[in-house]
Structure formats: C-alpha cells, structure tokens
C-alpha cells in the first residue's frame, strides 16, 4: 500500500526535533559558524533526544529501533536547524550503527552500551581520504594481517571529532584480499596521529581532522563482524541516504527563509515575491526539494525492507547533491546583496550545501 504518512511515533519525533532545530539550533548556528564552535549544551540537548540510543538493541538497553526511514526523517529535521549541529549530534552513529548491523556478539556487548550514556559518546568513523579523486571502493588505507594481529596504514581525511573521540571505526582495504572492512581503533593507540583541524568552506562549526595511521596495530577482534566482516556496500548505501536527507534539510532551510524574505522585501512598491522571476525560482526550489526528499524516503524504505537499495540510494544522493546546490544558490540569489552578507544565513547554507558531493562517510542512517 502506498502511503506518504509517517508513523505517529515518527511524527512526534519530527516535531520534537523541529522544536530543537528552531529553538536551540537556529539561535546559535551563526555564532557557531563564526567561532567554529557549537555550545556544548546544544549538542547535549540534541544527543538527549535519544536518536542514536534508540537504535541500540533492546537486550543491550536501547529501544531496538534502527530504521533508515526514521533516520532520514530525523536527519532532514536536524539539518533544517543546522548541518554542523546535525552531523555532530549524529556522529556517534557512524560507529554505533555499523556495530548494531554487523558487530559480533562480543563487539556489540562491549561497544554498544557506550552509546547509552547521558553524555554524547566520543565515537566516530574514518572513511574519506585526502586527494582530488576519492573512491570509496579504492581505499588507500590498508589492513595487513600477520600472526593474529592487524596493522593499519594510511591517511584519512574529514574524520569528524577525531580530536575528542575515544573510539574510531576505521575503514581499510585488506592488503591481500582487497576487501574493505571496518576496524575499531582506540584514539590513543600507538601510531594514531591526529593532524590539525581541517579548515573548510562550510561546516565550520563541525570539527573534522586529517588522521594518520602509521602501523597502528590491533588484534583480530577489532575487525567489525569478525571473520564475516561487514557489508561495506550496504554501509555506503546507508550513508548516501543519510546525506541525501541532510541535503534536503539544508535545502528546505534555505527555501523557507528565501520564501519568507521575498514576501517581506518590497521593491518597486510591492513584495519581490510578486514578480514571476522570484516566484518561479521559489517554485522550482520547492519542487526540487520535494523530489529529492521522496527519493531519499524511497531508498530508506528499501533499506528497511532489507532489500538491495544501491540504485535508489545512489540516485537519491546524486539528485540531492544537485538539488541542494541549486536551491541554496537560489536562496542567496533571492536575498540579493543580503544573500552575500554573513549576518544572513543564506550564504552559510550555500557553503554547507556545496559540500554534499564531498561528504562521503560523514553520516549514516
């Protein structure tokens, strides 16, 4: 049966997050972007909404509700508040969800209770690598097994919150089989070197780091999923869907602001929204946002059914990538000169929106 109505629980969650996004996040978003720091209490409030903990299995103390659809709905609403805050609040999921999905019983028992704490779990993941051409299927970071231990070598980029993380899920390619797996690495392990914080065009309130792994040695229990390993392709699909949903949230933020601005801004004796040149631009934004959202929903729905969602996730991401640039650019354009001024949020959304083609591995549902 076709339906576009979220469950009652999901609707409740959306309105809770919307209140948080509107009341807490929006108020600090500009200052956070300028100072490159999100106030700790805002992150804690976001964490305490319980998005990640609810996905932890019941037998380990969570609610056992890992749902890509719920994740997509939540991600849009969080990003509607602010992308940096959204990524930071969700960053523990980068480790938690793959452990829920693919961890061995021991890994789950050991790691998942960490995500039930009152304070946000200092856990992250390292996937992206520096360079112009990044291909998640051609990772340069390697895992070499010998005599019961595994050695990790390589450089990762855009590692969220690496400086403060205690745990990292590091994606690396087996130097013999070529298989990509995730390895749980303690931040203070020998050979882990956190370089200085990255300076980015957008996402300025979200600390990301380049991290070196120089012969970091872990034992075989560090490989997520043990001998079976992970379904790497499925993880990438979940990331694409998450990023598509976040892009929808950023696009919607820009659209709603531009729409309201255009109705207030008077030139030539009438609101600029009464000109087709502006009104049509806003209409296009609305159509593209809805189209991208529905594609993210469909991909999430397929993920939750346990079906292969590679095609849907990829197309949703590709579509959302283009949508968010077009929409946030139109958002700036609608504001004219004010669009270029940092006191107004439109340019921040454009800077954040432009990054989605780059943001592999920064979020997961």
């Amino acid at each position: 049966m076709v339906s576009f109505t979220p469950t009652e629980d999901q609707q409740l969650l959306i309105s809770t997050i919307n209140r948080y996004a509107t009341n807490d996040v929006r108020k600090v978003a500009h200052e956070a972007d300028e100072s490159e720091l999100i106030p700790a209490n805002v992150i804690e409030t976001g964490w305490q909404m319980g998005l990640v903990p609810s996905a932890i299995p019941e037998e380990l103390g969570g609610l056992g509700e890992l749902s890509a659809m719920t994740g997509v709905l939540a991600a849009e609403e969080l990003a509607f508040g602010d992308l940096s805050v959204a990524l930071q609040v969700l960053s523990p999921a980068l480790m938690a969800y793959p452990v829920v999905l693919y961890g061995t019983a021991e890994q789950r028992e050991k790691l998942l209770p960490l995500f039930l704490e009152e304070a946000i779990t200092p856990a992250t993941a390292a996937l992206l690598e520096p360079g112009v051409f990044f291909d998640p299927y051609e990772l340069k970071t390697t895992a070499t097994t010998s005599g019961g231990t595994i050695q990790l070598n390589g450089v990762k980029a855009y590692v969220p919150l690496a400086e403060t993380a205690e745990w990292m899920l590091v994606y690396a390619k087996d130097s013999e089989s070529g298989r990509v797996d995730g390895y749980v690495v303690a931040r203070n392990a020998a050979g882990v070197m956190i370089e200085k914080r990255e300076a980015l065009m957008g996402l300025r309130a979200m600390p990301t780091y380049r991290v070196q792994f120089n012969g970091v040695t872990v034992d075989e229990t560090a490989r997520l999923g043990g001998a079976v390993g992970i379904d790497y392709a499925a993880i990438l699909n979940r990331q694409r869907v998450a990023l598509a949903a976040l892009a929808v949230g950023v696009g919607r933020a820009s659209f709603e602001y531009a729409r309201d601005y255009a109705k207030q801004r008077v030139q030539f004796g009438k609101p600029i929204a009464q000109n087709q040149a502006i009104a049509f631009m806003l209409a296009e934004m609305a159509v593209e946002i809805d189209g991208a959202r529905l594609m993210a929903w469909e991909a999430a729905w397929k993920l939750d059914k346990g079906e292969d969602a590679t095609r849907e996730a990829y197309l949703a991401k590709q579509y959302a990538d283009q949508m968010v640039v077009k929409v946030t650019d139109s958002g700036v354009q609608t504001l004219g000169g004010y669009g270029f001024i940092r006191e107004y949020p439109a340019e921040r959304w454009l800077r954040n929106g432009r990054g989605f083609t780059t943001f592999d591995g920064l979020a997961i549902v």
């Binding site: 049966m1 076709v2 339906s3 576009f4 109505t5 979220p6 469950t7 999901q10 659809m69 112009v132 051409f133 990044f134 291909d135 998640p136 299927y137 392709a233 990438l236 699909n237 729409r259 255009a262 109705k263 929204a273 009464q274 087709q276 009104a279 049509f280 806003l282 209409a283 296009e284 609305a286 159509v287 809805d290 189209g291 991208a292 529905l294 594609m295 929903w297 469909e298 729905w301 590679t310 095609r311 849907e312 990829y314 197309l315 590709q318 579509y319 083609t357």
Partner: protein, 424 residues
C-alpha cells in the same frame, strides 16, 4: 500509517496485462500511425472497447444500485480503507503511454469529458450521459473543449457563449473551440459527447463560465479543422465550431446561476478537474520517459556501455552521467506523481502537488527524450527507431493540461499563499 512505496499486488498484475496490450496493439503500430497521421489505431481500439465498456457498465450499475439503496455513491472507499482507484489508473496510463502516447490518447472512453461529468454531474446526469460508454459494439469517445484561439492558459478570456432560450428550454451555444483531443472521434466518428466550457455572462468574468454537454448529432456543431502535429500524431486533435447549437436545459453541469462572489465557486469547481487530470498527464509523461530510458540503456548495453550505480562521479563517462541523470529525473518525477495520485485516493486536496508533479514530469520527460535522441547518435535521429518519435511525443507533456509555466505559476501561488491578483 507508515511511509511505503509498495504498489499493491493486484495493481502490479494489472500492469502486466496492460503491458501485454501495449506490446501487442500499440508498439507494433507506433511508427506507421505516426507516419500516416489521422489514421485510427483500429487494433488498439477494438481491443480496448469491450474492456472499457464493461468497466463503465459496472460503474454505472453500482451507481444505479446506490441510487436505489442507501444513496451512497458507489465509488467511495469503505471507511478505514484507502481507495487504490487512482493508483491503478496511474499505472495503466503510464504503461499505455510506454506503449504509445498518441495511440493511448485514442482510448475509446469518456476521458476528460467523463472526468468532468464525474466531478460535477448529478447522479441522473451521470446515468443518462455515460450510458453510451457502457453499451454496444461500436466504440464511443468523450472529449473536453476549453481552449479557444484567443483563450489558452487564460481560460477566463473565453468568448464562446451559452444563452438560455426559455421558449424551447434549451441552451444555445456559439463560438469556436480548438485543440480538442478526440474531438472528431467523439462527435463525427461515434455517438460520443464533448464537454464545452462557455460563458453565460461575459461581464461576470470567471463566475459566468459554465460547462455544457454537447452530444454527437447536435445540429449546428461541426468539426472545423483537424490539426497536424509535431508529435502524438495518432491522437485526434480537432477544432469544433458551434453555430447556434441547441442542447437540452439539463445538459449544463453544475448550477446555471452566476454567483458574483470573489471566489466564483463554479469556475473553481471546474478547475478542480485539473487536480485529477494533471497527475494522469504526469503519469503519461512517465511512460514515454521510461520507454526512452529503457531503450537507450538497452542499446548502450548492446554497444558495451553499462550503467553502474555507486561509482564516484569522476569515474563515470559522460554518457553514463547523462543516463544516470535521466534516471534520477524520471524517478523524482515518478515519486512526485505517485504522491499527487495517492492524495487523490486519500481524498486530500492536491492542487499544489498535482501541479508539482505535472511540472516535474513534463520537464523531466522532455529532457529525457531529447537526451535519448542525442545519446543514440545517427540512430537516435533516424525514423527507423522510435527515439525521435518519443522526443516529439514527449514535448506535449510540457504543454497540455497547463504549460510548465502555468503550473509553475500555480505552484508559486500556493507556496507563497498568493491569490491570482497578488501573483499574476
């Protein structure tokens, strides 16, 4: 409720049946009917008429029963269950247009005329006027006449008049209507009918516009011109001239009174038929889009080009990028259409979503079909294959049932909360 994109089993099965029809009586004739404009798709019409006639008969029987019994309309979904009627229709229209859009438009059915009667007609009018679509061996067509040479997107500028003659208790219609799909089929080639929009009081503007049922055989009604077109050539597009055409008093749909209120409910009611027709035009567009996309992928595969999913952008060839873009555009148009259709099934107000779907689908399929011609090189441009025809057929979806610009205007007004006066 929970978000779901699951097409019910019975609709999927029905699609398979429609696919068989598309493959047997549409695709094999697509090219020759395009080349020989104004010839009729006989095989398709003969195949479809008994099916549509019996469906129409069942609908009218239900209506008759309801009339005799509880008085409830037979079409209403039972409480707690959402109807899938429009969803089924969307899938049918999509598949038939995948077969051939020009031929699909020749469906022997009440079509848009029927939609108008369904939307605003009384039960007695429905039973009387639609009976012809529910009986006999000869196919019957319905049509809708709105556009005039001087009134296109601006319907309210129409000058066709309807004057009531109290002596004979008849409406007298004068004027010219153009671009009427199946107009000739309805009035000259079958015992069909056409819904004609006309003003009963030009000074009243929109409020004076009413819709009337003109039946085949009415004196004073003649086919003026049959258009020769860029695409959908198998479809009959006619102009109709009304010269003191007299129709019974009861052939007006809705109230004859002119309400001078600002909202002009009569006109709004008539415009509401677009809420149902636009998503179906979008569905038709999707069919051409899918036909073109499937064909391109098939031909590219034969030439060693596969379309990968999940490969980073920098590792894709230009052709792969184009095809992925076509595919994403089509999917987004499909989902927007599905949403607007689902709202109809749920009885929700969908003007905004209907225009969004129509706008997106019209634009997406125009892009997809034009890309298909480009990607297939010399063969794409050749009339040996259907790609060039799909491109010509596709373009109509950005034009009829409101051009892209008109639908964009409707979307803009809705999202801004503006009236037609605030955003013209």
């Amino acid at each position: 409720m929970t978000i779901s994109f699951e097409i019910p089993e019975h609709i999927q099965q029905q699609s398979q049946l429609v696919r068989w029809i598309a493959e047997s009586t549409m695709r094999p004739y697509a090219r020759e009917l395009d080349e020989r404009e104004h010839e009729r798709p006989t095989a398709f019409v003969e195949q479809m008429w008994p099916i549509l006639r019996d469906q129409q008969k069942a609908t009218l029987d239900k209506l008759r029963q309801a009339e005799g019994g509880t008085g409830e309309s037979g079409d209403k979904p039972k409480s707690g269950r959402v109807s899938t009627r429009m969803l089924g229709l969307m899938m049918q229209v999509e598949m038939l247009s995948w077969g051939d859009t020009g031929i699909y438009l020749c469906l022997p059915s009440p079509a848009l005329g029927g939609a108008a009667i369904e939307a605003v007609g009384t039960t007695a009018q429905k039973l009387r006027l639609l009976q012809r679509f529910a009986e006999g061996d000869q196919p019957v067509w319905g049509a809708m006449a709105i556009t005039e040479p001087g009134a296109g997107s601006d319907n309210s500028a129409m000058s066709t008049t309807a004057v009531f003659d109290e002596e004979t208790n008849e409406w007298v219609i004068n004027g010219e209507k153009i671009f009427i799909t199946s107009g000739k089929l309805a009035l000259e080639e079958s015992n069909g009918l056409v819904i004609v929009w006309a003003t009963v009081n030009k000074a009243a503007g929109r409020a004076g516009i009413k819709s009337f049922v003109v039946e085949a055989g009415t004196p004073g009604v003649s086919i003026g011109k049959v258009e020769i077109k860029h695409g959908i050539r198998a479809s009959d597009t006619a102009s109709i001239v009304f010269n003191n055409a007299r129709i019974p008093a009861d052939n007006i749909l809705g109230s004859a009174e002119v309400q001078m209120s600002k909202d002009s409910k009569g006109f709004q009611g008539a415009m509401a038929t677009f809420d149902a027709s636009r998503p179906l035009v979008a569905a038709s567009a999707l069919g051409i889009g899918r036909a073109a996309l499937e064909f391109v992928k098939e031909k590219l595969a034969e030439n060693g080009v596969e379309i990968p999913y999940g490969v980073p952008y920098h590792k894709l060839t230009a052709i792969q990028r184009d095809v992925l873009e076509m595919e994403a555009q089509l999917r987004s148009a499909y989902l927007l259409t599905l949403r607007s259709i689902n709202m109809l099934d749920e009885g929700a107000h969908n003007s905004l979503e209907a225009s969004m779907a129509k706008l997106k689908a019209g634009r997406a399929v125009t892009f997809i079909a034009q890309k298909a011609v480009e990607l297939l090189g010399p063969m794409g441009y050749s009339r040996e294959w259907l790609a060039e025809k799909w491109m010509r057929d596709a373009k109509i979806n950005a034009i009829y049932e409101g051009t892209d610009q008109i639908n964009c205007l409707i979307v803009a007004r809705r999202i801004l909360g503006y009236s037609r006066n605030e955003l013209a």
